[in-house]
Amino acid sequence: MQTKQSYINRALVIFAATSLLLGSCSKQLDIKPESNPSPEGVYKDAAGARAGLTGVYKQLQTWKKSEDYFVGVLGTDEARGSSFVGTWGGYWTHVASISSYNSLYSPQNQVLQDTWSVLYQGVYNANIAVGSIPSINASAEVKNKMIGEAKFLRSVFYFSLVQFFGSVPMPTEVQDPSAIAKGGYPKSPVDDVYRLIISDLKFASTNLDPKSVAGIGLANQEAAQALLGKVYLTRGQYDSASIVLEPLMSSASVGLMTNYADLFKGAHENNQESLFEIQYSNDNNNTNNLANAFGGWYLPNTKPGGGGEEVIPTDYYDTCFESNSDTRRAASIHYELIDGSGTDWITAYWWWGTAGKPHFAKYDINVGDGAVNGGKSPHNLYYLRYADAVLMYAEAQNELNKTSVALTYLNKIRNRATLPNWEIKLGHAPSQAEMRAELLKERMRELGMEGWRWCDLKRTGKLLSQTIAYNPDAAPTMETKHLLMPISSKEFETNSWLTPSDQNAGY
């Protein structure tokens, strides 16, 4: 019996030993992700904060790299969808509807949904940066500069959201715990959104380095000032706009490029006129698709590849230039179109509704740009450039009844395009109303398809009238409700703050 007892004891010892051995493993159950850091792990010091900010800039780049770029461009008096797009079915019918405002211009429109999502992903990344940088290990000055970058980028995202969609949910770096439980945030009134944008931009313009000091491609003081000016202009606060834009007019570090066409050549990226530019390169995942989307990449690049042709200029844009001596015409539009097999489209496909039309040229890929193919353009896109600031300043002055000051600045832009002063062309000094109309037109000539047209028209109250008058796709369908875009239906599916009545009217 004793031996049996000793056997049992031995068994217990073996068992206890293995249990202990395994038991000690239980401490190892705390396994952290080994291939992905946490936000806290990234935002530790200045280098980490830079890595995180890189991800915020990335959101901007992602937003503009493909069809979402056309939200704010299509469906205006300057651009329309090509007749090809709709025939590709599915998603492409949704792209086409951005131009034609047909029934697919709805809360379920994939392009509008994507725009909504990608802008908020930008906000989300910027919020983490704004919230995390204060506790990194760095000097207050370094921190404030970086917070300034994050706030500048956040205001970029919110400025588009509020203009496109009106009153929108407004997450900030301070997380509301109830938001997760309710799947989102309630809508904030338009005024509140602008209040955040303005405070962000004020902070940015005080804390960011001026462009001459800031690194290439980084948000800078001048960009923040120009954007703040645009925000004030949009709000009708012409005084404030004028004050904030004024220093730029006499700045030594920024100015117009001599030759308009150079603005869109790879060699002149990040030039003196550039205030803030969205950067692309030939690295994979850092390219954009705009050359392909505008159908302009054949020229003179003859590499074979998928030739998309999604967006073309309206006739109005095509003919808005005073004459061929306006150097912007040749830089913006090309009148020949040769495909990969050397066929001239304009003659070969005359019967295609839009194939015979001229195409947009600013984003053509050129030989020497090193693009892998037409769908992968390294071309940077301007978010803000000095000419825009000049025209904004002119607009503010004109609205402040200083039409003659406005004229000086308008003429700066005209002269650069090798056009004579406008009063000479006009034959008299312009009235305020003439100036207002001319500035709107001048903005299209100068900034055509650079992403601001829809906002410009809306700001000046001309979105409906101009689009209906000059965009044959939109003319039969466009109506008042289109002054705001429909909010993504997915937002209503998951954000329980929202009720059907929170959808923009008419959708």
Partner: protein, 1007 residues
């Protein structure tokens, strides 16, 4: 003539001599141990005489002439022996494995079937052998009550989806836990050769599965592979060869002539602008059709693309196994070769597997052993685009170019490939190559009598590689100059379990079986991916990525995961008729949140063997041969949450600040917001059932189970609104319930020497319902609603016919900018606008019930099995049908029904006006409506097998034990009203791989 006479004389003499009668002396023994069996009944076929064996197994019986003895004994297989011309005989009875004494694996232990207290179903290796299949999952199809096995696709090597007892989770379902010889397996088990399987035990309810704790919420499938047997050497060959042939049943009926095809394509353009695209004009034709197509119209050439990409495909499988037991060592070795070509050219599944199981009794108290299973799979997979393109392709496009190569279908301007030639795609399938090693070593040490220590170390090493190449003859490859992708994925799972088992019988009527143990599991998983483009030529495909001009993408991932568990179980039997089973498992997992590392999973169940009660008199026993009631309750978990869902993650990002060289950084993972409080799902399952056997030799066996599962803390990726900037946060937020019944009926309808008819029927019904979601919300998305089964809703606009001329002026038609002939959705909330609030539930994908019917018929040595499975009550959103029916595309070939499209003079139709810009469905913001919802009830005959077993006497001359030949038809037919390819699979984005019939000829030999 002389010979005939002589033989007749001889025959008569022999009859004469037998008619005199004599005493036959015999002995009945147990076949394995050779111990005598007392009390066996011996009778003579066709006579009244019978005898009973004595304590030493002996018996005496008077025989006369041609004599066949039938020996029967409870718990053993009844055996008939020809004793004509013999004076003494020894008859060995084999244990009847299908009977109650059969051993069932219950997880870290075994129990006799009669002592089982919960819902466990078993399939024997013999059942599998009778119906050759390529995968283990297929062997279970339609055989187990409550188990729904459906194909993941028809392509060779496609996985299967296995569901036990309905829906067990909202999004975290990944199928049951597989345990192969003690090694815990996740994912698919297509590596295991069904021929190597000794038995499969399916633990369906929580009281049985709870011993596997936090991984058992979807049931456990325990697979035991074959071992050698002492003193018996056996060499077996099992092989088949077959042909597979395309068979889509009624299938789709596409337009089949040039005139109709040309007409509808032109109609699609004319609708856009009847002047510019006049349907009668030759110049319109020249614009719409490509040059090769115009040539085909001229030559009246019609190309059969479907035929070009499909083939009659061979398949074969060969398994050779050898097992033996020499002294105290037993082993089983086997090798398998399986090669299945697909009916779509280019697809193929090839598997080599080798297996070695060795067991040795090192000392009287120590047994050690090893089980290994290595397999190598090469699975060539073609995209579903192949078949989709083949059926929808313009039949005017030539299949081949002038050189006899598949033509490259360029757009008119030559700038891109307008549509992939499906034949081209069959020539560069994705190669999915997989090596898997599942093995374990174990030692069992008998410390004292009845006290056993067992240590088992198992590993599962999986290495999967995927190679893809898109040549420049395909649309993507054309753009980028060839595109190659290489992926490596793999993991190592380690499991080490140590258990102590003690059998204890303190008094005669009290029997205890106690088990306690600890388990450690660990996984290390890696993945890497490279992609490159721009190859000098297509010749090297993915074989040398250094030649690519653009190395597009490099990604990788790595993680570790760990589980640590303790467990204990006690089984108590009183008088062999009251059985109580209690178990508890304590699981720690690295996947749970920091505040919830450990979870406890208890279970208790009991059984009452009514049949063993004295009040069951002899009369009742003559009718009822077995009766048992089982009741159980247990808690199991589901820890199948994404690794690291508890953390906020940053993913790599990059941005070229200066416009030329990129800076790398991080962006937030846009998919998941971390939740540190995340924990396992908890399923509380109640199970009550009974087992009943009726009539002598249990001719009718009935198993019934009712279960009710309350699943709490259901883990949900709670969709955050897009404005949160991140897709989901995982939360243990929902509650759901699944209840149902499983019914299994085994009938032995006819059972005699020449004729046998057995039938198994099973029927299962369940209802799953979401009980609650986030407080105050009864839906998290249109697809997830309280009161409805999760993941089962088809939500869309309600089809309300087509807009007609008479609708003109209606506000809704105006708001939709619709034209007559467009699809008309219902404005459900009557607000004058069609938007997402007009979508509703238009179908449900969960079935009402499902089951299987299995028939075995034998006449003498011929036998036939027929297996069918059925499912009813479920819907499928058949988007492909709409795509095929509506002319909404510039080139697609439509169904014949699609020719009946709307025109101002043909208004009574469901087919909208044709329009190449899909304008007739712009009225549907989702692109589809309830029109595509189809009922998918079906009965599918899975296989019919005819086989012939050779006479043993004949075989023994050839020194063989068994020989069987068979022919089999797999998937001979399906009865369904569903219009698509496969009601079991539904529709994929490019529709699905077509169905086929297989005709096999097989041979099973045993030496």
């Amino acid at each position: 003539m002389k010979a005939f006479f002589l033989s007749t004389l001889f025959l008569m003499c022999s009859l004469l001599s037998f008619s005199q009668g004599k005493q036959l002396q015999g002995r009945i023994v147990e076949s394995d141990t050779k111990k005598p069996l007392a009390g066996a009944t011996i009778s003579i076929v066709g006579k009244n005489a019978s005898a009973v064996s004595e304590a030493d197994g002996s018996f005496n019986i008077k025989v006369n002439g041609k004599t066949i003895l039938v020996v029967s004994y409870v718990g053993y297989k009844t055996q008939s022996v020809d004793v004509t011309d013999k004076s003494s005989v020894e008859i060995a009875l084999a244990k009847d494995v299908s009977d109650l004494e059969a051993v069932v694996t219950i997880g870290y232990g075994k129990a006799k079937k009669k002592d089982i207290t919960s819902a466990i179903s078993s399939i024997s290796g013999k059942d599998i052998k009778d119906q050759p299949v390529t995968t283990v999952a297929a062997a279970l199809q339609g055989r187990v009550p409550g188990m729904q096995v459906s194909g993941g696709g028809n392509e060779p090597g496609a996985g299967t989806s296995v569901k036990i007892r309905g829906i067990n989770s909202i999004t975290q379902g990944s199928g049951p836990l597989y345990v192969v010889d003690g090694v815990l397996i996740t994912g698919d088990i297509r590596e295991i050769n069904p021929n190597d399987i000794e038995s499969i035990d399916v633990l369906k309810d929580a009281s049985a599965a709870a011993i596997y704790g936090s991984r058992a919420s979807e049931g456990v499938v325990i697979i035991t592979t074959k071992k050698g047997a002492t003193g018996r050497s056996s060499l077996n060959y099992d092989g088949y060869f077959g042909m597979q042939k395309l068979y889509n049943g009624k299938g789709y009926d596409f337009v089949d002539n040039i005139d109709d095809y040309v007409k509808i394509r032109m109609a699609g353009w004319a609708d856009e602008d009847p002047k510019a695209w006049s349907p009668d004009s030759a110049s319109t034709m020249a614009k719409i059709f490509s040059a090769p197509e115009l040539q085909s119209i001229k030559d009246r050439k019609w190309y059969n693309w479907e035929k070009a990409v499909t083939q009659v495909a061979p398949m074969q499988s060969h398994t050779l196994s050898y097992s033996n037991g020499v002294g105290k060592n037993k082993f089983y070795l086997s090798g398998n070769y399986l090669n299945q070509d697909g009916i779509i050219k280019g697809s193929n599944f090839l598997r080599y597997s080798v297996k070695a199981n060795v067991e040795s009794e090192a000392t009287a108290n120590l047994k050690i052993g090893i089980n290994t299973n290595f397999s190598h799979i090469v699975n060539n997979v073609v995209s579903n685009e192949v078949y989709y393109n083949a059926v929808t392709m313009s039949p005017l496009w030539p299949i081949y170019d002038g050189n006899g190569d598949p033509s490259v279908l360029l757009t008119n301007d030559g700038s891109q490939v307008s549509v992939n030639n499906p034949l081209t795609m069959t020539k560069s399938p994705m190669a999915d190559i997989q090596d898997r090693n599942i093995m374990n070593v174990f030692g069992e040490y008998k410390i004292v009598k009845n006290l056993l220590f067992r240590s088992n170390f198992g590993i599962d090493i999986l290495r999967q590689q995927k190679f893809e190449y898109y040549p420049r003859t395909t649309s993507y490859g054309f753009q980028v100059g060839g595109d190659a992708k290489v992926q490596n994925w793999g993991y190592r799972d380690y499991v080490w379990d140590n258990t102590l088992t003690y059998d204890w019988q303190p008094r005669k009527d009290h029997v205890f079986n106690l088990m306690g143990g600890v388990v450690l599991e660990k996984r290390r998983q890696e993945w890497d991916y490279i992609e490159a483009q721009g190859f000098p030529s297509d010749d090297l495909t993915y074989k040398n990525l250094a030649t690519a001009s653009n190395k597009t993408d490099i990604q990788s991932d790595y993680f570790n995961r760990m589980n640590f568990s303790q467990m204990a179980r006690a089984i108590y039997k009183y008088k062999g008729k009251y059985i109580l089973n209690g178990s508890i498992r304590h699981d720690g997992s690295s996947r749970f949140g920091q505040n919830n590392t450990y979870g406890t999973f208890p279970a208790i169940s009991g059984a009452w063997r009514l049949i063993d009660e004295p009040f069951m008199g002899a009369k009742i026993r003559s009718i009822i041969s077995d009766a048992k009631i089982r009741v159980g309750y247990g808690i199991v978990g589901n820890q199948n949450l994404p690794d690291f869902a508890k953390f906020n993650k940053m993913t790599p990002s990059s941005y070229p600040y200066n416009g030329s060289s990129q800076t790398t950084g991080y962006q937030l993972d846009p998919s998941v917001l971390g939740n540190p409080n995340i924990r396992w799902e908890k399923q509380k399952q109640f199970n009550a059932g009974f087992d009943l056997a009726l009539l002598a030799s249990s001719r009718i066996k009935l198993t019934f189970d009712y279960y009710n599962k309350n699943i709490d803390d259901v883990l949900l990726p709670v969709p955050l609104s897009p404005s949160m900037g991140v897709g989901y946060e995982y939360m243990n937020i929902a509650r759901m319930n699944t209840q149902g019944v499983d019914l299994g009926l085994k009938l032995s309808l006819v059972q005699n020497k020449n004729f046998d008819w057995q039938m198994d029927l099973n029927w299962s019904k369940y209802k799953s319902q979401v009980k609650s979601l986030i407080p105050g919300r009864d839906s998290l998305s249109p697809y997830l609603k309280v009161g409805e089964a999760p993941n089962s809703l088809i939500v869309d606009y309600v089809y309300d016919g087509l807009y007609q001329e008479s609708d003109k002026g209606s506000p809704i038609m105006a708001s939709q900018h619709a034209r007559p002939g467009d699809v008309k959705p219902k404005d459900l909330n009557n607000d004058g606008v069609i938007n997402q609030y007009d979508r509703t539930i238009v179908g449900r994908t969960t079935p009402k019930a499902y089951g299987g019917i299995w028939n075995y018929l034998r006449y003498k040595r011929f036998s036939m099995t027929v297996l069918a499975s059925y499912t009813y009550g479920q819907d499928i959103a058949n988007k492909a049908y709409q795509d095929y029916l509506y002319e909404t595309d510039t080139r697609r070939r439509v169904l014949k029904e699609g020719l009946n499209y709307w025109t101002p003079t043909n208004t009574n139709t469901n087919v909208p006006r044709p329009n190449v810009f899909s304008r007739s469905i712009y009225t549907l913001p989702s692109g589809s409506s309830s029109y595509i919802v189809q009922r998918a009830d079906f009965i599918r005959v899975r296989n019919i097998t005819f086989s012939y077993d050779f006479d043993q006497a004949l075989l023994s001359k050839a020194r063989m034990n068994t020989a069987k030949v068979y022919v089999q038809v797999q998937d001979p037919f399906i009865i369904t009203k569903y219009k698509g390819i496969d009601p079991e699979i539904g529709v994929g984005s490019m529709d699905v791989y077509p169905r086929y019939r297989s005709f096999l000829v097989g041979l099973q030999l045993g030496l």
